[in-house]
């Protein structure tokens, strides 16, 4: 009988502890998944497969020096233990070649964390039958990704964390014959066919609006509503070093003027890293317990994400951030705008469902550019007039979420990461929509 992922991790840990020499310290990370991937195009299966993968990440510390090795695990206990010994050997050969690391900082607490969420997923045949029944006449394109994900962490100081969750993420678009499209997603840990059908119905409703005659806009300044999925793209840009202690200390953060007090956002804006209750592991890749943090409070920069290394380098207190100091569960506090009132409050302007491909045109000024994508509508006097083809915006965060921010919605969406680079990601964001008085379109 094959070992479970947790048994596999514990066997490795046992081997590592037995092999450790006096003076050596370690951290051992573990990551595994069994994934079912089904790609759709034209509501048919374009590509399907299963992926079984596991890896360990060993950091060896000795005499003030450290190095890391990641290695793939094959599931054969003897072979995996040999790979662990090989990694240990390489790291032991490496450490003497290094200078003492002045920023080496280890969390020496013996924390314990255990999270196990094991709901059953549907058989892929059930998902396929549902798509066939409910979407056969639609031009549906996207991916269904599902299966268990495991993350583990242990240290020579006695810390031990285990996170195991079964989840699914069905991310799809419906295309109108005119090329316009609406995006939808159904993700979580407990599959409910009725909930999927309801999401599909809502997307289908929006699709009808996409058939209206298109509206051509010229570059200029427009009143706009940004739906939570569009806000997620903006939030994603801020996660790209915005809150990082290292980036803030070295001129590489888009929020450096906010955190220096030279600029501020609207008092409506309060952003936190809300790890508790999220789908992310309760521990960081560095082996610290994550913390809930208030990053922006009523428009002013407050806490930043501080890894152990940054703490040592910039003389700050570490607060459980990952080594790359990016939020894993970003939460923007809700406002008071009722969902039912969005079109009426927008009046005349753009209803933007999604944004796409954002990047900075001037990073220190938090000026970013990007494009509308999926179901962007022109609204006049609270009525949808028709879809707007792709438009580019170029504006600063201090405008969009600063002086031009009029309201945030009272309802928020929990958006689970669809990213599958290397492995299925566990990040999420919890965001309201935003009504802005003016947004600059340039192309």
């Amino acid at each position: 009988m094959r070992a479970t992922p947790q048994e596999q991790f514990q066997q490795l840990l046992q081997t590592l502890r037995a092999a450790l020499r006096d003076g050596e310290q370690f951290t051992l990370g573990f990551s595994a998944e069994q994934s079912q991937f089904i790609r759709f195009n034209h509501a048919k299966v374009r590509q399907a497969g299963v992926v079984s993968q596991a890896s360990a990440q060993l950091r060896l510390v000795d005499n003030g020096r450290q190095a890391e090795q990641q290695f793939t695990l094959c599931g054969d206990a003897e072979l995996d233990q040999q790979r662990l010994h090989d990694a240990l050997k390489q790291l032991r050969q490496t450490l003497p070649l290094l200078a003492v690391d002045p920023y080496l900082s280890l969390d020496d607490s013996a924390w314990q964390s255990h999270s196990l969420q094991q709901q059953a997923l549907p058989d892929p045949a059930e998902v396929l039958a549902l798509v066939e029944r409910e979407a056969a006449e639609l031009d549906l394109v996207g991916i269904y990704a599902a299966g268990p994900i495991c993350r583990g962490f242990a240290s020579s100081f006695g810390a031990f964390g285990w996170h195991e969750a079964v989840s699914f993420n069905f991310d799809w678009s419906l295309f109108h014959a005119n090329g316009e499209a609406v995006k939808a997603n159904y993700a979580g840990q407990s599959w409910d066919a009725a909930a999927f059908v309801e999401r599909l119905r809502l997307a289908r409703e929006q699709l009808a609006y996409l058939g209206l005659p298109g509206v051509l806009l010229k570059p200029g300044s427009y009143r706009a509503y940004l739906a939570p999925a569009a806000m997620d793209e903006i939030a994603g840009m801020l996660c790209w070093g915005g809150f990082s202690a290292q980036a803030l200390a070295t001129g590489n953060s888009a929020l450096q003027r906010l955190y220096s007090g030279d600029a501020q956002l609207s008092p409506l804006v309060s952003i936190s890293e809300q790890v508790s209750g999220s789908l992310s592991p309760a521990f960081s890749d560095e082996g610290s317990q994550r913390q809930d943090l208030q990053l922006i409070a009523e428009g002013r920069g407050l806490q930043r994400l501080v890894s152990a290394r940054s703490a040592a380098e910039f003389k700050l207190a570490a607060n459980g951030a990952d080594s790359y100091e990016s939020p894993c569960a970003l939460s923007l506090a809700p406002g008071e705008l009722a969902t039912a009132d969005i079109l009426q409050r927008l009046g005349t302007g753009l209803y933007i469902s999604n944004l796409w491909y954002l990047n900075y045109s001037d990073l220190p000024a938090a000026r970013m550019t990007g494009l509308t994508r999926f179901a962007t509508f022109w609204v006049k006097n609270g009525e949808i007039q028709g879809p707007v083809s792709t438009m580019r915006f170029d504006d600063t965060l201090y405008n969009l979420l600063g002086q031009q921010l009029e309201a945030l919605t009272a309802e928020r969406e929990l958006i689970l990461s669809t990213s599958t680079y290397g492995q299925r990601q566990t990040g999420s964001s919890h965001l309201p929509g935003a009504l802005v008085k003016a947004m600059t379109l340039t192309l």
Partner: protein, 480 residues
């Protein structure tokens, strides 16, 4: 090299399958990442990864299973998983591949200087530390880093038709970056990093120019901090190769990917403003535009003999004298579309299936020296080194930004400007190509970070280009 071959061959031969065709793609790769930041060596990072993807075709329907368990039973189990899945999806499958040809070639491809030993880790760190230490002392220089990534990949493709295709490749990614800040504004200048990588040995570090570069990179970061913003308006735009690569990548490479045109990527990476009917018809750019898929430049990142589906790779013109000729479509896309394509079906590793990707996508050199290119511009701007990229999902409306700008007036290079950005529309932009640099301006570059696909994949792509001039482009600066 190819130490696993005999065992893989033996285990593949022992697999039992009811599929009409099945294949195994084994990938073994290692990575070593070194960096010295602000004169402190960062913890070295190593990676060892190995696994295989088994793909089956049953009644014209394909499915895959990927596993790191390379034992006989592990491979057999994965094969059977793929078979079960192929049967499960049969009724829902978009494609019937019953008549698609199956490769049967046998060939080995090895990177140049693959077996040449590289300097040891201590020497590499010493080199990076020396560069880091060469950054001058100046309070405004707040961050700098010298780095070197080394990746070795061995891949073996075997199939039931008798194909055996092996690749052994080594990739180096040297880089240097410096950030200058005055507390309000910050400006960065870099060499290499995401804009440079090649196949081969230590000669790549010399070709990159990393050794001895720190002083100049730091000086340029400081120059940018003091420079005025790029003025707004229409100007002739001279793009150097380390921005041309991004321009080629986003507004020629992605729109020509056949799987986008066929709709596979519409939910994620996007579609294309190019239609299947445009091939052979569309005037994509001016007569000066010659674009090739070229796997024959040995040091370029995506030079290979066969792609990951086993199709033999050869140099092909995608665009000749501005006319669009063929897409970036591998064997499957060619089968689906009926168009001639190239060997660009690629996967990032053993755990992802091949899809249409860019590989080496180059612009052929023209006839003008850099001095002639500059001399031919009355009012213009030179931009180099990409730092920002954004383009719509049909790969048409773009806005790109560079680290370094220099105005050109009356045929002469003038002052440095910061935050050089420009925007345009792909369908028009290449028709504004007015001059192409000669071989003396031609550089072989590439990036390790091209993302696409569901599930997501990042692959290495090569771009070689001369410097090029575009007429009357909308340029602008930043807010600072």
């Amino acid at each position: 090299m190819f130490d696993s071959s005999a065992l893989l061959r033996q285990r593949f031969a022992a697999l039992r399958s009811t599929a009409e065709v099945f294949s195994l793609r084994h990938v073994k790769q290692s990575y070593q990442g070194l960096a010295v930041r602000r004169n402190v060596a960062q913890p070295p990072f190593f990676n060892q990864d190995e696994g295989a993807m088994l793909t089956v075709r049953i009644n014209g329907v394909e499915a895959y299973a990927a596993t790191a368990d390379l034992s006989q039973s592990g491979l057999q189990r994965a094969l059977e998983q793929a078979e079960a899945l192929a049967r499960q999806i049969a009724r829902h499958s978009l494609l019937d591949l019953s008549t698609q040809a199956v490769p049967s070639e046998r060939h080995d491809h090895v990177s140049p200087n693959f077996i040449q030993p590289l300097p040891n880790l201590a020497d590499c760190l010493g080199l990076l530390a020396a560069e880091s230490a060469s950054v001058p002392t100046d309070n405004r220089l707040v961050d700098w880093q010298a780095s070197l990534g080394i990746s070795e990949v061995e891949q073996t493709y075997l199939n039931s038709a008798g194909a055996e295709l092996r690749h052994a490749q080594r990739f180096l990614f040297p880089g240097m970056g410096v950030t200058a800040s005055d507390g309000q504004d910050s400006q960065s200048r870099s060499l290499g990093r995401d804009n440079f990588g090649q196949q081969g040995g230590f000669e790549i570090i010399e070709r990159c120019g990393l050794i001895g570069a720190a002083t100049q990179v730091a000086d340029q970061a400081l120059q940018l901090l003091l420079a005025p913003n790029t003025p707004s308006g229409k100007r002739d735009l001279l793009l150097m190769p380390d921005q041309m690569m991004l321009q080629i990548h986003e507004s020629i490479g992605h729109p020509l990917e056949m799987d986008r045109i066929l709709g596979d990527e519409r939910n994620y990476a996007g579609t294309s403003f190019v239609k299947a009917s445009d091939f052979g018809q569309l005037q994509y750019g001016s007569n000066l535009l010659n674009v090739t898929f070229d796997p024959t430049i040995a040091e370029e990142l995506a030079s290979y003999s066969h792609d990951d589906d086993g199709t033999a790779a050869s140099k092909q013109f995608l665009i000749r004298q501005g006319r669009l000729l063929r897409p970036l479509g591998g064997a499957l896309s060619q089968f689906r579309s009926g168009l001639d394509g190239v060997a660009n079906s690629r996967a990032c590793s053993w755990n992802r299936a091949p899809i249409d990707r860019m590989a080496n996508l180059n612009i052929e050199p023209g006839e003008q020296s850099l001095a002639q290119l500059i001399g031919g511009i009355e009012q213009g701007i030179l931009m180099r080194t990409n730092r920002s990229w954004s383009i719509d999902d049909a790969r048409n409306k773009f806005q790109f930004g560079c680290e370094w700008g220099q105005l050109i007036e009356d045929g002469q290079l003038k002052g440095v400007v910061k935050n050089p950005n420009y925007r345009g529309i792909s369908a028009q932009f290449w028709r504004d190509l007015s001059a192409v640099g000669d071989r003396s301006t031609f550089e072989v570059l590439g990036t390790p970070n091209c993302g696409k696909g569901e599930p997501n994949q990042v692959v290495r792509v090569g771009h070689a280009s001369p410097a090029c001039v575009f007429s009357q482009i909308d340029v602008f600066g930043g807010d600072a």
